[in-house]
């Protein structure tokens, strides 16, 4: 492999690893904020216990997000000096504003959010949570603005040396694809967060541990999922049509459409063969793609062959990544609807098969996010700034050896990190929220489990906690 491919591989790996954490923490930050508000206003200890529990998992994910994010802010210079040189006038301020408005806001209040309970009032704790959650959204906004500019550049002109100069900031920040991308990504994060909360709560419902807290969290998560999954599919459809207008080649790769067609069929599955420039073994549903893309029976959709094969992205990658993302979307929608049916029948907290299913959906949001980013980033190739700057012209003057070394270390380190995160997060999740809630009068039969848990966590805690201060947190 040459330095370009290595640099691409390294960036894809590090940014793909990074996006997992914002995806988790944007959703969880708002969930914790919501719990903090409920605890502040109602004084119901179930909300406090849930808040503390999810804060613990949020904190692990947040730390991972910070450190893997710092890597990216420097990697753009170390590996993509040509890109930085060409677009710094446009992209640089967006990154700077992300730091100023988002990272500092998060960093300024994360300490109070995680450790401030007891030092500040409940209202102030809620405010700190709100600031961190808002910071996470600001961060997504700026980074999506920068990415959207790379996809649908506007408001800037390149000079003879290939350096972009901004002529209109409004156009450069609010490009045509920006609102769709932002909505789709933020919604993806909320959906993922919902299914993480649902999965962990379902685990405790399934085991019969922490019933009060698990029921509350499971119910909240399934309501969120019911609202968000259809919204997300709708947003995805809107972004798809936006892509058709602005990046027709990417859309054609997503659909596996080679020739410009009137009333194209939807290709359910196929093997897109780039050398023959056609699909092998394809299963098509006539006119369906035309219906959801153009909202008409015989609308025209541009195909891949409108450009030279050298100008096409890697079609199978985009094609299959898109199917993984869309398939997961449908699966999550089905889960949310099944949850509604069970709830209406009063079986949401007792249907064990459904709890098992909900546990299975926990990682799916992350898979869909990675697949979705693969579609949009691989689909932009061979361009790094669509239509203006080629990826091959954007790399830094560093040797392939240096990039290989760092790529290998990144690969090892990140896998170790992931293993450590999964280990600690799973342990925290399995332990569950503390049962400080008084046994609910509605479900007297569950008291026994409650007591057993309390007893076991009480006896085990001194050995686990060398720090003595933990016990008086609740006092």
């Amino acid at each position: 492999m040459d330095a370009v491919q290595l640099a691409r591989l390294q960036f894809a790996f590090t940014i793909g690893f990074h996006i997992l954490w914002p995806t988790l923490t944007i959703g969880l930050a708002w969930f914790v904020t919501w719990l903090s508000a409920l605890w502040w206003r109602t004084g119901n200890t179930v909300y406090r216990d849930l808040m503390r529990f999810w804060l613990r998992i949020f904190a692990l994910g947040f730390g991972m997000g910070v450190i893997t994010g710092i890597v990216l802010s420097y990697e753009i210079g170390t590996n993509w000096a040509g890109f930085s040189r060409s677009v710094s006038n446009v992209i640089g301020p967006m990154f700077l504003y992300e730091t100023l408005t988002a990272f500092f806001l998060e960093a300024g209040f994360i300490g109070i959010m995680l450790f401030g309970e007891g030092r500040v009032s409940r209202g102030a704790h809620f405010f700190a949570c709100l600031m961190v959650a808002t910071g996470a959204l600001f961060s997504a906004t700026w980074i999506i603005a920068a990415n959207s500019w790379m996809q649908t550049p506007a408001g800037a002109v390149a000079d003879a040396d290939g350096i972009f100069h901004v002529v209109d900031w409004w156009q450069a920040v609010f490009t045509v694809s920006f609102p769709y991308r932002l909505a789709h990504m933020v919604c993806a994060s909320f959906v993922t967060g919902s299914f993480v909360v649902a999965g962990v709560s379902a685990f405790h419902l399934w085991r019969g541990t922490h019933p009060a807290a698990s029921r509350t969290a499971f119910s909240m998560a399934m309501w969120m999922a019911l609202i968000l999954t259809p919204t997300q599919i709708l947003l995805g459809d809107m972004q798809g049509r936006n892509t058709m207008d602005n990046q027709p080649v990417k859309l054609a790769a997503m659909e596996g459409l080679w020739d410009t067609t009137k009333g194209p069929a939807m290709t359910v599955i196929a093997w897109p063969d780039m050398s023959e420039q056609k699909n092998l073994y394809s299963i098509d549903i006539p006119h369906l793609a035309s219906l959801y893309l153009t909202h008409s029976w015989d609308g025209e959709v541009k195909g891949l062959k409108t450009v030279q094969p050298s100008e096409q992205p890697n079609v199978p990658v985009v094609f299959f990544a898109f199917r993984i993302m869309a398939g997961i979307g449908v699966l999550l929608l089905a889960t949310a609807v099944a949850g509604l049916v069970l709830r209406l029948r009063g079986r949401l907290f007792s249907a064990r098969w459904f709890h098992f299913l909900a546990m299975g959906t926990t990682p799916l949001g992350f898979v869909a996010v990675i697949a979705g980013w693969t579609v949009t980033e691989a689909g932009r190739q061979p361009w790094i700034v669509y239509g203006h700057l080629r990826t091959a012209d954007a790399v830094a003057p560093v040797t392939a050896g240096a990039v290989t070394t760092s790529l290998l270390i990144f690969f090892i380190v990140y896998n170790l990190l992931l293993a450590a995160f999964v280990w600690f997060a799973a342990r925290a999740a399995i332990k569950g929220p503390a049962d400080s809630a008084p046994p609910s009068a509605e479900h007297p039969g569950l008291d026994r489990t409650n007591v057993r848990n309390l007893a076991s966590s009480y006896t085990s805690s001194p050995s686990r906690q060398p720090v003595g201060g933990a016990g008086h947190a609740g006092a």
Partner: protein
């Protein structure tokens, strides 16, 4: 006329902001990297718990200044970003790896039982390596960076120099001094006594390395010698080393003093003086000895756009970061919650 004046002075203003960000980063992250450097030297596990707890609420905010520095460089002085980052490829990526290890140690150490030593090593080793890499970069900057056609033209190891190694060792000593000062301020009893004792060693190391780095760079880099040792510069610049010597003496005499913040605050002053000396040596370059502040600045309209952020948002950021320190003021006690450290029980 006015346009010319602006073109001359606007980059200077942004250079001042960039220097400010670097200063805040070095002082703020210096304290928590310093605590990390001293981590394994502490005699007891209780000390380590307390040391980590003292920086837990603020380390993330401190490290954000590193991102601020990087993004400000990209936005205001892109030449610095796309020339310097490839030039220091290896020390930068190893600094990032090191920061990763020490960063996750915050989250994982308190949760670990059997493998606690692993996270202790990750935290201390990460802090040490990150600091040393920063020193290598510093030394490389003083030496200058090879540039052709506006891009970096050296090899992967052209950053490496004796001066860089000296700077690396000096920075380790300096951060350890700040960290020890922080611990004197934020802890009591045995941990505080440990901090006072180790501060002696850190101060000796810092003083020796500051002298060595100054002498070595004056001897090996003619531009630096010319800057400092020609008249009338010599007269104007003479107060810097004199004040520095005074501050070092003041730290030494106050290590066992009754006012706990003293060592910390004075070591910040010492670092600030070191930075002033560095700026004197490197001025007016973004990429030392090839690209100046004026040549390396980005478009006027880009500078105009980011000025709102820098002159309106940055002061607000400073205010609430100060507030975060204020919330956790006073001596550190062990706390519950957060990174899975505390077990909330009724």
């Amino acid at each position: 006329m006015i346009a010319q004046l602006l073109a001359e002075h606007v980059p200077l203003l942004f250079a001042a902001v960039a220097v400010f960000c670097v200063t805040v980063y070095v002082l703020a992250d210096g304290l928590d990297l310093g605590v990390g450097i001293l981590f394994l030297a502490a005699p007891r596990d209780e000390d380590r718990d307390l040391m980590m707890a003292s920086i837990e609420p603020v380390w993330d905010g401190n490290e954000t200044w590193l991102v601020a520095g990087g993004t400000l460089l990209l936005a205001a002085f892109p030449a610095g970003y796309y020339v310097l980052l490839p030039a220091f490829y290896l020390p930068i990526v190893f600094m990032l790896f090191a920061l990763i290890f020490r960063g996750v140690a915050f989250g994982f150490r308190l949760q670990a039982k059997r493998f606690r030593l692993v996270w202790d090593l990750a935290f201390a080793g990460g802090s040490l390596l990150a600091t040393f890499c920063q020193g290598l970069i510093l030394g490389g900057l003083i030496n200058g960076v090879p540039v052709e056609n506006g891009m970096f033209s050296g090899g992967p190891f052209s950053f490496l120099s004796i001066l860089g190694v000296l700077c690396g060792v000096g920075l380790v000593g300096g951060y350890a001094l700040i960290g020890a000062g922080w611990l004197i301020w934020k802890t009591t009893d045995f941990t505080q006594i440990f901090a006072r004792e180790i501060a002696h060693a850190a101060l000796i190391l810092t003083t020796a390395m500051m002298a060595l780095v100054s002498a070595w760079s004056a001897w090996s880099v003619p531009e630096v010698a010319e800057r400092w040792f020609t008249l009338p510069n010599l007269l104007f610049l003479a107060p810097i080393p004199i004040i520095t010597a005074g501050v070092i003496l003041a730290i030494w005499r106050g290590l066992w003093g009754t006012w706990d913040p003293r060592t910390f605050l004075l070591s910040l002053v010492l670092f600030a003086l070191g930075l002033v000396g560095l700026i004197v040596s490197l001025w007016p370059y973004v990429v030392p000895r090839s690209i100046t502040v004026w040549d390396g600045a980005s478009d006027p309209q880009t500078l105009h756009f980011i000025s709102y952020g820098l002159f309106i948002i940055l002061p607000i950021v400073l205010a609430y970061q100060a507030h975060a320190y204020w919330v956790f003021r006073g001596k550190t006690v062990h706390h519950a919650g957060g990174y899975g450290g505390g077990e909330a029980q009724p």
